[in-house]
């Protein structure tokens, strides 16, 4: 048992220790963290928007699993996860001295020295996301007339975040296919759901 733990510790130290040391002493750490948390936030946001659209998509009736309750819980959990990752993304970039975003760039649109318009898209998406999630959290108190129309702006938040990632990310080229695939999936889902609602087939799935 002890020998096993020792071997495991040696292996972890050998393979993870050196890269971790290099990263922790890297002057670019806030920038690296900011970028990686930004990508993680985008992926979490994409999954959240996907599940929100899927929850009331006519194609969902063809799949028994996951059930609507599980989808809704995952949607809500991903909202909390997105907010936490976003807080990390913003803090890391505000503390970073390399790119010149700073606290002003994080919270004031067009306040960043680094690609001001691209960063401003992210700042505006951040405020809109706070509005969408905040009103959804208060849905039972403020009523549907307020929270639901605001909630439909989620796709706008997604599009702004996608544009922010593509235009401001220094690793935009390597993540190109992630952005293209996620953008296509979410927009296709939104369009087909809208089409089903417009043609009046949205609630006809129960008859299948």
């Amino acid at each position: 048992m002890l020998a096993g733990l020792l071997v495991a510790a040696l292996l972890v130290g050998r393979f993870a220790g050196t890269p971790t040391q290099t990263l922790l002493h890297n002057k670019m750490l806030p920038w690296i963290l900011g970028r990686s948390l930004g990508v993680a936030t985008y992926l979490s946001l994409t999954a959240m928007v996907f599940l929100g659209l899927w929850l009331r998509h006519p194609w969902r009736a063809r799949f028994r699993r996951p059930g609507p309750e599980s989808i809704l819980w995952a949607h809500v959990s991903l909202a909390a996860c997105t907010v936490a990752l976003l807080a990390g993304h913003l803090t890391a970039l505000a503390l970073d001295r390399y790119a010149g975003v700073g606290w002003t760039g994080v919270f004031v649109p067009w306040g960043a020295q680094y690609r001001p318009t691209a960063v401003a898209l992210g700042t505006l998406a951040f405020y809109l996301l706070l509005l969408v999630i905040g009103t959804a959290a208060l849905a039972g108190s403020i009523g549907r007339a307020v929270w639901f129309p605001i909630h439909t702006a989620s796709v706008v938040v997604f599009c702004m975040t996608l544009a922010h990632g593509v235009l401001s990310g220094s690793d935009g080229t390597s993540l190109r296919w992630v952005y293209v695939a996620s953008g296509l999936v979410v927009l296709t889902l939104q369009f087909t759901r809208w089409l089903a609602g417009t043609l009046g087939h949205g609630s006809a799935v129960i008859d299948e």
Binding site: R60, E69, I71, L72, A139, S141, I142, G143
Partner: protein, 87 residues
Amino acid sequence: MTAQIRIDPTLCRGHAICALFFSDAVDLDQWGFGKVAVSVIDSERDLRRARRAAAACPNGAFVVTGADGSVDNGARRPRRLRVRAAR
């Protein structure tokens, strides 16, 4: 002390939000359409949860009927109503 809840099947679009707010009283079918499992409410706490579910439902399908006949489907901002004694 009673109030009643029901889900209007003609309005329900399967958002499943009522189950998020009042899971004890609502069952969902596989498409997410709600069915009321417990239709009679006899506590203030459950009435609050029911009214929150009614307010949150995007289609106004979740309906709470008070003992005095007042109907709340979340169209207005929920008031602090009391559960009254049934006649």
